[in-house]
Amino acid sequence: MKELRRVALATLSAFLLIALTAAYWSVIAAEGLLQREDNPRLVEAEAIIHRGRVYDRQGILLATTTVNYDGIGLRRLYPHPEVAPAVGYYSAQFGVSGIEATYDALLRGDEGPTLFEKWLRDLLHEPPVGGDVRLTLDLQVQRAAVQALGDYAGAIVVATIPDGAIRAMVSAPIFNPNVLDEDWHHLIQAPDAPLLNRVTQGVYQPGGLLETVLLGTAIAHRMDTEAPIPGGAMPVQVNGLTLDCGQPLPTENDPSLHEAYIHACPGAFTQITTDIRPAVIDQAFWRFGLLTPPDLLGLNTDIGDSPLPLAFLRDDEAIRAALAGQGALTVTPLQALEIVAAIANGGNAPLYHLVEATRLPTASEWQPVQPVGMPRAVLTRQTTEQLQTQMRSAAVEGIAADAQAQSIYPILGHAATAYSGPEATPLQWFIGMIRASDGSAVIIAVVVEGADSPTLAAQIGGQTLDAAARIYISQETAVPQITAP
């Protein structure tokens, strides 16, 4: 019967439509469906991942995956929460940050297995096992930095030269990633923003931090840094602020640029455009890396808004403000570290890195992670040496003397004050280094928020530098040789 044949054909066509639609949702549209946020299977799949481990440079465990308190499921454990600014956090609910985010693919086991191995793993419902990451971070230095900063809000970043390895990365207040889910709402609403990594993303007014850059520019352009600058000791008025010397000058004479640097007198530096063209200073800012985000191997680094170049400024007060570090230019502590890094490294900015090596889940050997790129030439060796001398003077008899007081090693450094925001909240900066005769060095940048004492950052910096130098530099090789204070 033709009616029966037609009914059979129509029925078979309907079954075929069902089959094709099932194939569409199962194969063609599957990826989009599974990645939807409302797919509860994502959370389930996430919960079984045996995420890889994170170690410090000495093999101390910083992050691992362990069985939950109730014996069901897995949880991420951070044995040393003080490394949270660098390691970041992992939360099935709130995502990832820091190294946990940068190396997420490796840590969750997406890197390493071949496509076939992944397919087989999924087929057999074996939980993904992640690879491991070894950081350049040194838990001892990190702890020393945390201890030195105490209860202050701010940031400390320590690196070694010439390898550019980050040894400590402190951003305070520090959060505890072990209880992130419980604290989340408090953390994201807290006015002091504990989740912000101040080292890489905290943008601050540089204030007197620019004096090192300006002095270097002056030396490079053969300006007479020993010549007295009339009114160099006078306070500078910018944006309603009165910026005075960081510490009193030993004499009442007009200071030279050298003396102004040692005692952190902004007046002398705001007159520098009399001898050096603003465009040259703009170039120096660029060479020191103050206008570009530093590359830290995928870690999210930030800079503030790009300021209008000095050469474009027509207003005297705006130029003064820019030269005093109270203009539109803002910097992160990592950028501040770039200044001292170039000086410590013979004039070349090194390539920073926070990760020393990685290990695939199936491998037993660590694979070193090489920083990508070329060191950037910032200063000539001669300028570098002169700047080192000035910084040493600042640490011996000037604004950074409190840093030297904390260490048996000879410290080179400079401290400065800046003011931030509409309420002119004071910020204290310190950049410094301890060098060895073989050219290696430990360098530091410190910023302390809301502290009035201009020497506080120097004390914190000195204390941390001393702890780092005890690990990386032997006293016999430290330069210049000095006796213990």
């Binding site: 029925t11 099932a22 469906l33």
Partner: protein, 430 residues
């Protein structure tokens, strides 16, 4: 080839197919034992299934030795698969479903032992239909919902419930087949001059009875069953009359009815809305359908394996959405296996209809029962896949529900009888 040899081959083929189904189910029962830590419960359910399947096979060998060798194994495969799925998704209901399976096989075997001429069905068509309708009317008055909320479509108490609308499905098909067979010449009107009055006289009582059923079913807000009745009725009318125009008019009426239902019933409005665009309400009203589609996506081609997927996120998974659970745990391969099983079952039924083309009642009954299975499975699978709005019918043999299982095995019994008998009395009306 001798008659005995043909019979032996058919029996062997059925046994072989049952063996394959059993092997498949045994592997899955063991995996479910291991995956879900349900020590031995799935295997015990399998053993019950296996004993029942073999007993059914042997009993059928005696009552219907020349039956179709595909129908029974397919029904057993689907019901066994469904039993394991219910154990996996809603373990509390598994043993109850197993008991329903035993009862259903009993009904199937009982039908297989009844006289093969099927006159008892045809002669008392009004009795069957009024009996079914009476049960339905009692349900309207005294109906309950075992879950405590929702449409009150069940009769029963103390944990034993029956859904009369399920029973009405084959009863209505038998009534329609019987009536259309009696008035086939009038309805068919092969190329002759149109005789509107006789046609109206022939179709009038038919439409009246069918309309009565529809009203009762709609009264219960069992719109899925109403849709099923309508499509089966339309198909039978087409087969009996050969008039495509009836189908077109019927489809237009169905569309109008759908629009009216959309305006009248909140549940229909909800189902149509989430069918048209479920994504904005994926965590709200459309949660069920979105989760269903995600189950298909999660299943991919090979599936997660029984007990290893996450279909339990889908509400009422063991009933309306069991097809999505198959998709997630057996993947596209499992889906195609279920689809093929239904397709083969339906095609065997339609083949029976073609074999009985000279006996209108049997032909229409075979076609009607086939369409009952086809349309019901297509409605629920289409709904689960977002091809059409959800209709709330169950997947035959697989979904949880004793009434549905019992009625579907009754259909299997009728198919088996139809595949065996060689009666010739169909050419005349009773």
């Amino acid at each position: 080839m001798t008659f005995d040899r043909v019979t032996r081959n058919a029996r062997f083929r059925e046994m072989l197919l049952l063996g394959l189904a059993g092997a498949f189910l045994l592997v899955n029962a063991i995996v479910l034992d291991l995956a879900a830590d349900n020590l031995w419960t799935p295997t015990l359910l399998f053993l019950l299934w296996a004993v029942t399947a073999i007993a059914g096979h042997r009993a059928l060998n005696r009552s219907l030795p020349q039956r179709d060798p595909f129908i029974y194994p397919i029904a057993m495969l689907l019901s066994g698969w469904g039993l394991l799925m219910i154990q996996r998704l809603a373990p509390n209901f598994a043993w109850r479903q197993a008991m329903w399976l035993l009862l259903s096989l009993g009904v199937m075997l009982a039908i297989s032992t009844l006289p093969m001429h099927l006159r008892w069905l045809r002669r008392y068509r009004y009795t069957w239909l009024f009996g079914g309708l009476t049960l339905l009317l009692v349900t309207i008055l005294l109906g309950v919902n075992p879950s405590g909320a929702g449409p009150r479509l069940w009769l029963g108490a103390r944990g034993l419930f029956f859904q009369p609308s399920e029973l009405l499905k084959p009863v209505l098909v038998i009534f329609l087949a019987s009536y259309m067979a009696d008035y086939r010449d009038l309805i068919r009107n092969d190329g002759r001059e149109t005789r509107y009055l006789p046609l109206a006289r022939a179709l009038g009582p038919l439409l009246l009875m069918w309309g009565l059923c529809m009203v009762v079913v709609i009264w219960q807000q069992d719109l899925g069953t109403a849709t099923l009745f309508f499509i089966v009725f339309l198909t039978l009318l087409y087969i009996a009359s050969g008039q495509g125009l009836y189908v077109l008019i019927g489809m237009a009426l169905l569309l109008l009815a759908a629009i009216a239902a959309y305006r009248l019933f909140d549940v229909v409005q909800l189902r149509v809305d989430v069918w048209l665009n479920p994504w904005p309400e994926a965590n709200g009203r459309a949660f069920q359908i979105v989760q269903s589609l995600q189950a298909f996506a999660a299943g991919d081609v090979l599936g997660q394996g029984i007990g290893l997927g996450s279909p339990i996120y889908i509400p009422v998974i063991h009933s309306d959405f069991i097809f999505a659970a198959v998709a997630e745990e057996w993947g596209l391969i499992g889906v195609l296996t279920v689809l093929s099983s239904f397709a083969v079952l339906v095609m065997r039924g339609l083949q029976l209809a073609a074999l009985w083309s000279e006996a209108p009642f049997r032909m229409l009954m075979a076609a009607g029962l086939s369409m009952l299975l086809a349309v019901q499975s297509l409605l629920i699978m289409g709904g689960v896949l977002k091809i059409i709005p959800m209709t709330g019918v169950t997947l035959p043999f697989m979904s949880y529900g004793g009434s549905s299982l019992l009625v579907n095995f009754a259909l299997v019994g009728l198919f088996l009888v139809l595949s065996t008998s060689r009666a010739t009395e169909e050419t005349t009306a009773p």
